[in-house]
């Protein structure tokens, strides 16, 4: 049993990669540490459960990385994906620290493997977790337990007592009698608010009812909200979230990575009126992967259909849910209550606009449409070989960008710009500092591990002083 009457040096709220890295590094620095994970043990770890890799800078190839990825190149990639919406000082600090994380995380029991089948494009930049994100979490939890970190599950925090930027205690829900847990410092690593539909509705209206959440139902943003309400400075656009198009048949929560679709570039995407609405061939798929959630969210009833024919049936990763199949376009339309005539007309119009070219999905090829609005600028080929297939898709929300502002020490900043006395943040809850918008594969884990480790170390030191 964990003694909740004592005052801990460091209280970590959250249970994912950032929280565990903070807990481990604080404990290694000599602090007593309590981790409060709001989810039950099986669902521990928030979005980390569903991750698979981390992006770290390195100057030379390793056992599992095929070549160097310099700090400069990492920085350029980050600038590109965020359109410059990043804090340069923090970002460069994180990138420099990421080099050391490659080895540090292995010391904590996490094991690497080369990039997974079907992800060759990441083989140089990203290190993959052997066994995936939950395996990584299991290793971190085992290490934390061995070090003597106290961990509570189902530990919902109902309130934070903060005075003048000074954390005093957290109110922990404990059956009938709630308990005030005291600690010298706080590390908030409790993620974003993507699973809080009511909060999403503030920005998206009723459309948010049709959103699917890719992670657990426990990422409700309650800690983030408490901190912002108590005077912590915010960062990141509250209205924005990372969203991809995922299978409409996926569960409301926690469908994870396997509900994704990589088939957009091989076909066309129509809305419930059987009309196309965006250039499916705009760019190489991984670069455009993450715009389709927002695109579908903007369509009526937040539903769309990826339509392709049997000529490309095996051109992409196998999917969890099989595509709906029909011998004719009209038959396919009927399976989704789409207007058969409208879909036939859309496809006939598309086929007529396709110009001859040499198909190659690995480059921006010359297969395109002419005289069509919107155009399909690459990989456009006629949809004419039955049977025909379709995947229904909805917006799948991965994470939100709103967070708490921090400095290089991962210390929160208050609205007046002063550093908080004893409050630190790591992971998705502060990702907006370096990731103002967009995404690059594996960067969420980099933010979590780097700032988690810093936050834990700084909090331990803060607690001693």
């Amino acid at each position: 049993m964990v003694d909740l009457s004592r005052k801990f040096d460091v209280l970590v709220i959250g249970g994912g990669n950032a929280a565990l890295c903070a807990a481990i590094s604080a404990r290694q620095a000599g602090a007593s540490v309590l981790v409060l994970e709001g989810a039950p043990k099986f669902y521990r770890g928030g979005n980390t459960r569903h991750t698979r890799n981390m992006r770290c800078a390195h100057d030379a190839a390793t056992d599992i990385l095929t070549g160097p990825y310099t700090e400069q190149e990492f920085w350029e990639d980050l600038q590109r994906v965020t359109d410059g919406e990043t804090d340069e000082e923090l970002a460069k600090h994180m990138i420099a620290e990421s080099k050391d994380i490659l080895g540090w995380i292995v010391e904590q029991g996490v094991r690497w493997q080369p990039s997974l089948g079907g992800t060759l494009g990441l083989g140089r930049t990203n290190s993959f977790f052997l066994g995936g994100g939950r395996a990584m979490l299991n290793a971190l939890y085992l290490t934390a337990e061995k070090l003597g970190v106290d961990i509570l599950y189902d530990a919902e925090v109902l309130g934070l007592e903060i005075e003048n930027g000074m954390f005093l205690s957290a109110m922990l829900k404990q059956g009938h009698a709630d308990v005030a847990v005291r600690a010298a410092t706080l590390v908030a690593a409790a993620g974003g608010f993507e699973a809080n539909i009511e909060w999403l509705k503030q920005y998206w209206g009723d459309a948010a009812d049709n959103f699917l959440i890719r992670g657990t139902p426990y990422n409700r943003g309650s800690i983030l909200k408490m901190l912002l309400d108590k005077g912590v400075q915010d960062v990141g656009d509250p209205t924005q979230c990372h969203a991809v198009a995922i299978d409409a048949r996926a569960p409301k929560f926690d469908g994870g990575i396997i509900t994704r679709h990589d088939s957009v570039v091989f076909g066309i995407v129509v809305n419930k009126h059987a009309a196309r609405f965006y250039d499916e061939g705009e760019d190489i798929w991984p670069k455009r992967y993450a715009i389709w959630g927002r695109l579908v969210a903007a369509q009526p009833d937040q539903i769309a259909y990826i339509i392709f024919d049997s000529s490309v049936r095996n051109s992409f990763m196998p999917t969890l849910f099989p595509p709906i199949e029909a011998p004719t376009i009209a038959g396919l339309a009927a399976r989704f209550e789409l207007d058969p005539a409208a879909l036939e007309q859309t496809i006939a119009g598309f086929n007529a606009a396709v110009r001859p070219g040499t198909f190659d999905h690995t480059i921006l090829d010359d297969c395109r449409t002419e005289g069509l609005t919107p155009p399909k600028t690459h990989w456009a080929r006629k949809i004419e070989t039955p049977p025909y297939y379709a995947y229904p898709v909805r917006p799948g929300i991965t994470f939100t960008y709103l967070g708490t502002r921090v400095n290089r020490q991962a210390r929160m900043l208050m609205k007046d710009g002063r550093p908080a006395a004893n409050m630190f943040a790591a992971g998705e809850i502060m990702a907006g500092n370096v990731l103002g918008k967009g995404y690059a594969a594996g960067i969420g884990m980099t933010i979590g591990s780097v700032f988690g480790r810093i936050a834990g170390r700084e909090a331990a030191q803060n607690a001693r002083n």
Binding site: F42, R52, L116, L130, G133, R134, D254
Partner: protein
Amino acid sequence: MHGTKILEEAGRLMTVCNSCRYCEGLCAVFPAMEMRRAFSDGDLNYFANLCHGCGACYTDCQFSPPHEFNVNVPQTLTIARAESYAAYAWPRAFSGLFVRNGLWISVIAALSVAAFIFGFAAFHDRQVLFGVHTGPGAFYKLMPHNAMAALFGGVFLYSIIALVMGVRAFWRDIGEPIGMLADPPSIWQAIKDAGQLRYLDGGGVGCVNEDERPSDLRRIYHHLTFYGFGLCFASTSVATAYHYFWAREAPYPWWDLPVVLGTLGGIGLLIGPAGLLAEKWKRDPDLVDHERMGMDVAFVVMLFMTSLTGLALLVLRDTAAMGALLALHLGVVFALFITMPYGKFVHGIYRFAALVRYARERRSPG
């Protein structure tokens, strides 16, 4: 559509796993899966026998129960594996022995021991059975060597034929050309993989058994069991060679090769099965094929009893207990050999064949 309920479930799981692939570094099953987009019954039986049941993919899976995707690969493949043993059994009429296997093995073992005791008693008077016999040929006062060799040689031969027929059925089911079983590089790779239990280590940190903490205990116990069995088998082979080529009759002095090999093997065959049984009882119920628990237990108990009775015979061979112990030991060994094609022993044979196929696939995909 698949042939059985469990293969239906295995097919569903492989579809889930093939769209995830996080576990591909843990063992051979997932890379083999990634070479395919659709899964025939034969493919699934191949995966089932390739799976070593290390459990790592269950603990590492974000979709394992209580998640609604309910992904439990180790348990599903364990059940499919056991069902495949029955399906490949030769002759077909005996496949029913895999149902309530523990009971069948116990009955056969009891009958076999009883038959030896009865046989010794029927052929000799009490003085011989309960007498003290020492020096070369002591055992053969109870049963002539040629009779012993003929009986056990015959049983061994039968078991080998039945096992070969089983492998043939497996090989056909998974759709491999028969010649591929004789592919030397693949066989050598499979020998290395099986010999070190490469895929019983959770991708490098050990098996997952009772909780999420990995441990190498199952692998160590299995090594003790397997190599213990091998040493015991070598002991018997050396003794047979002594008998026929050098006319040296058992029992042999304690420092002689058959006794040394048999004693070392016997110790492994005590600790190994006992450890495996203890691990089995601790195992997370979510990973266990509860219906087939008896099959697993019966096999390790038979191995344990083979060793225990053999060592007891060694220690007490110069006393009046020798006759009874010899009957007991021979009865247990007889039962072990005759039930080899119809019990857990076959797991090693099919898994080895699956490893040969995997080695072949890795070298020349498709």
